[in-house]
Amino acid sequence: MKFVLAGQPNSGKSTIFNAVAGYRSATANFPGSSVSYTVSRALIQGREVDVVDLPGVYSLTSSDTVAGEGESYLLDGGYDLIIDVVDASRLGRSLELTLQLLELQRPMIVALNMVDEAERRGISVDVSGLERELGVPVVATIARRGKGLRELFRTALRHAHVGGPAPARRLDREVEHALATVSSALQESGVKTGVPLRFAATKLIEDDRHFHGIVLGWYPGLEAAVAVAVSDLERAHGWSADQIVSGGRHAVAHSIEEQVSVHGSPSVGWREWLDRLLLGPWTGGLLMVAILTTLFWGVFGVGRRIEGPLVQLFEHVNAAVVGRLEPGSLLATVADGIVMGLAGGVAIVLPYLIPFLLGLAILEDTGYLPRLAYILDSLMHRIGLHGKSVLPLILGYGCSVPAIMSTRILESKRDRRITGALAAFIPCSARSVVIFGLVAAYLGPLWALLVYLLNLGVVVVLGNILGRRMRGSSPGLILEIPELSVPHPRTLAAKTWLTMREFITIAWPLLVASSVVLGLLEWFHAHDGINAMLSPLTVTVLGLPAAVGMTLVFGVLRKELTLVMLVQALGTTDVGSAMTVAQLMTFTLFVVFYVPCIATLAVMAREMGWRDTAWVAGLTTVVATAIAFAGRFAFAIAT
């Protein structure tokens, strides 16, 4: 049995999913935070059920030539029941999608979510009235607090067994006439679309590019029938056919909303006041700087306090373990590798990673990110993009992989390519760990801030160049700004843990293994060859010790490795004793900019193709070398 959660972006699908599946699907307070679907097996009343969390779709009509992942999944039909998650505070608009989902004529129930938020806005919805209007079961829920979810899944289970396909709603007469014409033409042609005739006809009349391509490609004879129906419809209404159909649904949805909901006076609370400040023409920019600076200092302050004692602890442990073994023996080398690998992970990476991820989670869950997109829109236009590109770029500070995946929220291919390339340049949390662990720790936090600002400057310049050089249209910003919300501590913890778990299960073993491998390479003196090969870059151009060559190679696997390997290569956790501050700065600058890690390259290749990926990898290396080289001399002059 398979249930699929479908609904508009930011309606709380992932929150419902996580409530039954454990925290598996990252949630955030901005539209489009889930870009691909997540499946999990859940136990509902003793039955095993697959629950699918789809990325949000505003509508089943795509203006793009490729259908979104959520849309394709819904049309594909490999599931038993749709749970349509509806935002009660935006009932009218959400119902427009519900009407389209009903057209799929599959078993369906509605989760009327966020009824608490609706109440705050003075909206109360009559659940049984909505049930009557739609003809499918409706369950009121507050997913954030887990209310109504048990009832929701009980209803889902019952309805998947008993309930028939959902009935479709009628639109106005001319539209129905056009739909009937196209439907019968479709039936005569015998084209297999895999969806109900009426739904297929609607998509053709609405000029859904993706669907048009499929159906008319199979059976070109249909084109004439569709054209006649469309022109009749346009003559009767005086608008384009897609607007008539969408307008028709809009009207039906809003008449349902009016019948089943009562609008009282909304309570203007702190959210409204705060929003006025956050989005105000002058206060907005100032607050943005304040918020981001606070985040930076918070991460540094917490990280430094934890790092110091832990580093000392591991120095002792290492001395205790390795000191007992015969110095220079193979066993001592392996033991040293293991301890250094563990030390790098626990003492240097975690202290900065945890507060960083927590801070980012807070930004995501409060709904501040779309507000940043609003504030930075005009600035982003200067570099040839628009405000929506801010979201992938900010997510890039967490991890480049989801950042590049989230470029899918951008409408035009050009914007996706530029933003994806730029996101690779944004220092992810692993690279931030290097910045904090080396520059902030040994040179001071202001220098670390300078690295971030320098990076931002490079991104702006690159964006400007790419924006000018790349052709194609950038449609401009259209973005829903969700209500501000207070992040739930449990969700924040779960979200941080989701990323942390990935670090512990994937990165950590890799850290320890790589550390051992490096130890062995040193033992067999094999590392000299690689270091010598890289020495023109590391020693001649950048003025670094030859030993860092290997760390850069490992860094392509995962960026944290550069730091941990540096510890291993230099043979001490007190890096400052083995390298000068100028060298640390140059090293950090290079690490921040050079080739993204393997995982990023893989996701980039999937999203943008190998050609763009190779191009970005090359560009990052060139930029990294240039910046680090310039940094080497600029730092010497400045200090």
């Binding site: 009509t61 935006r90 607007q243 203007v268 989005l279 259209i478 700004i481």
Partner: protein, 93 residues
């Protein structure tokens, strides 16, 4: 008739026509902005930034470029009429 990017803060406007391609139009439609809908301009970002509008209880940021393609009608005298037609919906905050 004027375009959305010229509407002042806290003013209401009714969408008359959406210029621009199928993509922009359907995107606005799916976010709940249709011809005939009443919008309230909540905020206008400085430096030619986006316009923040409220429509049917949702807030949507619209870039200046796109806002200049949305033709609207602004008429202060119909404000009360809107309130009775759509109670509580487009009422100014």
């Amino acid at each position: 008739m004027m375009t959305l990017d010229a509407v002042g803060v806290r003013r209401q406007a009714r969408v008359i026509m959406i210029d621009g391609g199928h993509g922009v139009r359907s995107h606005l439609n799916t976010l709940g902005i249709h011809v005939g809908d009443w919008l309230t301009v909540v905020e206008r970002a400085p430096f030619h930034g986006p316009v923040l509008v409220e429509v049917n209880g949702t807030r949507i940021a619209i870039g200046r470029g796109i806002a200049s393609k949305v033709r609207v009608d602004v008429d202060g005298t119909v404000t009360s009429l809107v309130d009775t037609a759509n109670p509580g919906r487009a009422a100014p905050r």
